[in-house]
Amino acid sequence: MKRSDLLVFNSKGIYCPRAKVYLDPWRPVNHAIITHGHSDHARFGHKNYLTHHSNIPILKHRLGDIPVQGVAWNEPFQINGVTFSLHPAGHIIGSSQVRVEYQEEVWVFTGDYKDEDDGVAVPYESVKCHTMITECTFGIPAFKWKPQQEVFKEINQWWKENKEEGKTSVLFGYSLGKAQRILKYLEPSIGTIFTHGAIENMTEVLRPQLALPPTQLITRETKGKEIQGGIVVAPPSAHGSPWMRKLVPFETGTCSGWMAFRGARRRRATDKGFVISDHCDWQGLLKSIKASEAERVICTHGYTDIFSKYLRELGYDASVENTDYEGEKDEATTSTEKETV
């Protein structure tokens, strides 16, 4: 079939010229379809937002009272003769892939995604397409996730041991997505689960949609003694901040795909690294692309050069487009890899 440019990459985002709609644009536009609530995908200033129903509370929490229209998964809708539909991406709660179809040509933009069912987000659904626009945050064979039950077993065990030593466990993870995934699998019988303000606010917004154990917000009034032996879920930015003083004595743990690297863990000066990510690992990416039956693959963020080169060796028509998406940030670097060559 003839290759067309149903979607193009311009300075504002991924654009469908025929429908005059942008997907996850990074500059203000008139019509934006938003895959999920992370700030590199859902930005301020668009005139009209369209996203999955379950993502609306997140967008409103983060961006204020924006004009947003909600749609369901697997329900096609038309814009200027182009057929769009959203499909679960399994990345975080409310995350979607966008399917775009015009005259029997199908493109899929994955946004961020993972193929593992985490029990929190609606699981990733494979969508057949001719062209797949995929992220590849962890697109080298060094990344291979363990099943999450194993990791959460380690986390609870770690909490238990710290408690026995009279220490508080401080666990770092993104406030949207990772934090709720952690909360869901912490074992409340071990002790009290405390939260940092950023985590508590986001979780509060999502509680109507999720069954999560009770949490206690750490406020100015909370005494250090009360927290001792408990577990505290905090955003990575809290690490090393004065806010931590109250938690002494503590052990720190970080939940991130980057924790697969010894160097990354040492750089963050975290006592324990738990390898858990809301993105696909290497095999997850390859399997998802294969299952989509796409012939053409466009890589947007992550190890795009390496990953697309390997895809070409496998026979795909693979290329790289620059975007402003960041994937899962390796916090020590202020930016993730932005390949220019």
Partner: protein, 532 residues
Amino acid sequence: MKDFAALIEELDATTKTNRKVAALAEYFRQASEADKIWTIAILSHRRPPRPVNTTLLREYATELAAIPLWLFEDSYHIVGDLAESIALVIPNDQMKSDKSLSEILEELILLKAKSELEKKTYVQQMWMQLDYYSRFVFTKLLTGGFRIGISQKLMTKALSQVTEVPEDELAYRLMGDWSPANTSFEELIFGRNEQAYVSKPYPFYLAYALENELEELGDVSEWAFEHKWDGIRGQMICRKGELFIWTRGDELVSDKYPELLHLVNFIPEGTVLDGEILPFIDGEIGTFNDLQTRIGRKTVSKSILKKVPIVFRAYDLLEFEGKDIRQSNYQQRREKLEPLIEEISHPALQLSQRMIFDSWEEVAAERELAREKRSEGLMMKRNDSAYRVGRKKGDWWKWKIDPLTIDAVLTYAMRGHGRRTNLFTDYTFGLWENNEAGKPELVTFAKAYSGLTDKEFAQVDAIIKKTTLERFGPVRSVEPTLVFELAFEGIAFSNRHKSGVAVRFPRILRWRKDKTIADANSLDDLKALIPK
């Protein structure tokens, strides 16, 4: 293997000394005799010779992982550690092997002589039988270089807790020429192995850099001074008609310096000297660069012996007439050392002059002469100081001269290792020089990868990623925009460097955000720093 891997994981997971010591002590309490001695050997860099080269390891790993070699290499550049990269790409996470550390090491020793096919089968099987972390540790044993921040001091501390042998005593026992093949844990810690004793060096006494004002050191008459020579710290041992030279890195280097071995006929039995291995060319101390031409060589040719002759410049006497005299004071030791060197009177054995000054001003003035005298600064030693074990404060200080500096432009960058994995932290710097057409261009003159804070490295990393021009494997050329002030200890002309100049121990002093690349120095500015 699982216990040892767990130990390494625990040591690697913490920067707290107490916790490392506790983990080691716990391990030493539990481990078998054979595992204990092997653990000490590995942590003191006495691993068995590499049975398989890293090229082959890469091939074995890519085959098991079913990925092309280039993909493995690209991943390795990101991960920053070969053993870790291999451990990550091998598709197995179940622990199926219950072999002990010592069993595996003994197998590795035998493996060296086996055929390539046997090697491949063994290594691949092991990889598939070990879980991720054990596989990483196993591969580290194959590739060498176990750098996990375990100093000798830390290990002796832990061993001392377990065995109740004093730390200084243990430090001594752990030194020298022993291996698990010829020494048991009992023998090493409690026994006395005559054979090993003959070549055994004493632990080096190391000085800290001067921290306070000179005047706070008290009366200048209580101190003696020497120049701090820029060679290799070494211990020369003469016992039972044999001569051994150990470096401070606990490496036996006697064979590398045949001109020193000759001294065995001149030095009396039962003598141990502490001193500096130095290049000495035409009656002058050479540069560290000269010494470098000798360090790397396994076989020493006649021409190199002639080109860069070596001397041993002694500054202390640790054993005299077969007796350990480390507890007598520095002045007493020197009073034995000085006539001894004179008596031996051999051109390859020199005395590091002891200097005495009447005021701290004179001391400071002498330090200013360091470059002229080809030293790095001054060593300050209390007259009444014993020769202690390891790095201790108070009795000995080193007072180095300020480094030379130059402003240079960042031209290439490479990803770092260890905690800098995935960050561009290894930089190449250039200085201006006019090319044949008379146009200024940047000529590479040094590499440096230390001196910035983590935050600065992150900022520079971001700029590098945005200003990349070209990639050559792991290396990127970047658009020249960043200027750094580099410091270095020594400088000399060199044919081995494109710039024609070699600098010693270059590192980043600070990021000159206030300067544009046009403000950076030229190669001529650098050459002007070379002592005439």
